[in-house]
Symmetry: C3
Subunit: 166 residues, 3 copies
Amino acid sequence: MEVAANPAAVKDKLSMVVFSGDLDKLIAAFTIATGAAASGMEVTMFFTFWGINVLKKEKGRKGAPSFLGKMFDMMMPKNMNKVPLSKMNMGGLGPFFMKKMMKKKRVMSLPEYMQLAKDLGVKILACSMSMDVMDIPKEDLDYVDDFAGVAAFLAEAAESKITLFI
Amino acid sequence: MEVAANPAAVKDKLSMVVFSGDLDKLIAAFTIATGAAASGMEVTMFFTFWGINVLKKEKGRKGAPSFLGKMFDMMMPKNMNKVPLSKMNMGGLGPFFMKKMMKKKRVMSLPEYMQLAKDLGVKILACSMSMDVMDIPKEDLDYVDDFAGVAAFLAEAAESKITLFI
Amino acid sequence: MEVAANPAAVKDKLSMVVFSGDLDKLIAAFTIATGAAASGMEVTMFFTFWGINVLKKEKGRKGAPSFLGKMFDMMMPKNMNKVPLSKMNMGGLGPFFMKKMMKKKRVMSLPEYMQLAKDLGVKILACSMSMDVMDIPKEDLDYVDDFAGVAAFLAEAAESKITLFI
C-alpha cells in the first residue's frame, strides 16, 4: 500500500514506544509527548518492558500471582516515584539531585507530567505482552487507556508523522 | 525533494536501526519487526554496533584477524544466546529469569524470533562500517541479506512510514 | 491536519533527538546525520540531556553559576573528547580501544564528525530546557545553530521523512 493510494493515511500525529524505565528518558518522553499534544498533535505512548513500571499504582497493588512474577516485581522500581537515572544513578543520589534541580527550575515532576499528558488527551497504551511476561495484573496499573499488543501500536504509528523508540 | 513531487515515495514500510545488543531491546525490536511483517508491512532491520553480535554464527567462526579485533571479540557476547539485559543483568541471572518467564508464557526466544523474521521476509542488513571497525569477517555472520552502509539504510528509511532507533 | 491538505508538508529531511552522551551512540548519530546530509537530505540534530555534553567547549568555559549546577557539571564528561561508552566502558579502557580501532580503520573521530556535520549544513539545536535544568550557560557551548525548546524540534520533525531518538 502506498500513501498515494490513501493520502489521508498520515495524520498530524506522534507515536512513541516507551521502553525505558529510567527517570531521564521518561522525562524526555513526557516532554516530547506533552509538547506535541499541547501544539495540537494527536499523541500515543505505548509503554512496554521497563516503561510499564511508570504505570504502576502507588498503593494497593495486588502483585504478581506467580513466584517468578514476584521475583521480577521485587527487582523493579515500585512506581514512577522510584525510577532510577540511566546514568550517574549513584544509588539514588543522581535522581535526588535531578529532581531537586528540576523543582528549582520549575520543571515538572514525573507524576505532574503524567497528569498533564492525561489532561492533554495523550493516549496511554500498556503492552499486554510485557504485562503477561512480567505477570503484572491489569488492576495494578493506573492511567491506562487501553491494553494493547504491538499490532495495535503499529497501526497508530503507521499513520503518524513522528515515530520514536525511547 | 518533497513528497508532493513523488507521492509514491512512501510505502507501507518500517525501517529500524538495531544498535543495541541487549536481550530486552532485541526482543522489543524483533516483536515490532515481526509484528509489522505479519500485518503485511515491508520491514528492514539494520544491525549496527552491539546489534551485530546477534548475527554471529554459533559455531565455526573464523574470528577477527587483528589483535585489536580479537580483543573486541573477547569482550563481546559470542552470539544471540549470550546477550545480556540492559538492566538487572546481575551477572546473567536477569537474562536467565527473563528467558524462563518468556518460555513459561510461550513468548518466543531470540533464535525463534530471528527465524520468524526470516520466514516473514524481514530484510536483515549488517552495517559494513561496524564490521570493519570491529574486524568481523563476513563469513562469521548468519541471517544477513545484505552488507550495507548507512546510505543504503537511509534510502530504505526515507520511504518508510515508521522509523526507529533501538 | 492531514498531509492530504498540505502535501508539501513532508520534506526529504531527517530529524533526530540526541539524548545520549555515550561515544558509541554519538558516533551512530553522527554517521546517520552526516550520511543523510551527504546524500542531500536536510538534517536537524536536537541535543538534549546527556547529549548536551558533546557541545561543550574544550576551553574557557564559565561553568554553572549555582551550586547544584556545579555538582552536575563535575559529574558529567567535560566535553566530547571525554565521553564514555554505553557498554564495556571499563573505566575508560573501552573508549580507548574503540578510538584506536576507529583511527586504524580510518573512521572519523567525534570532533571530526562534528566538523563534517557543520560543513554539510546539519542544523545543531541545543535543548534550552536541559541547559536550564543543568545550569549550563549558552556561552559554554560550541557548534550550536539555535537554542530551542521541544516545540521547535517537533515542528522540524513533523516535516521529516525520518525521525529518530538516539
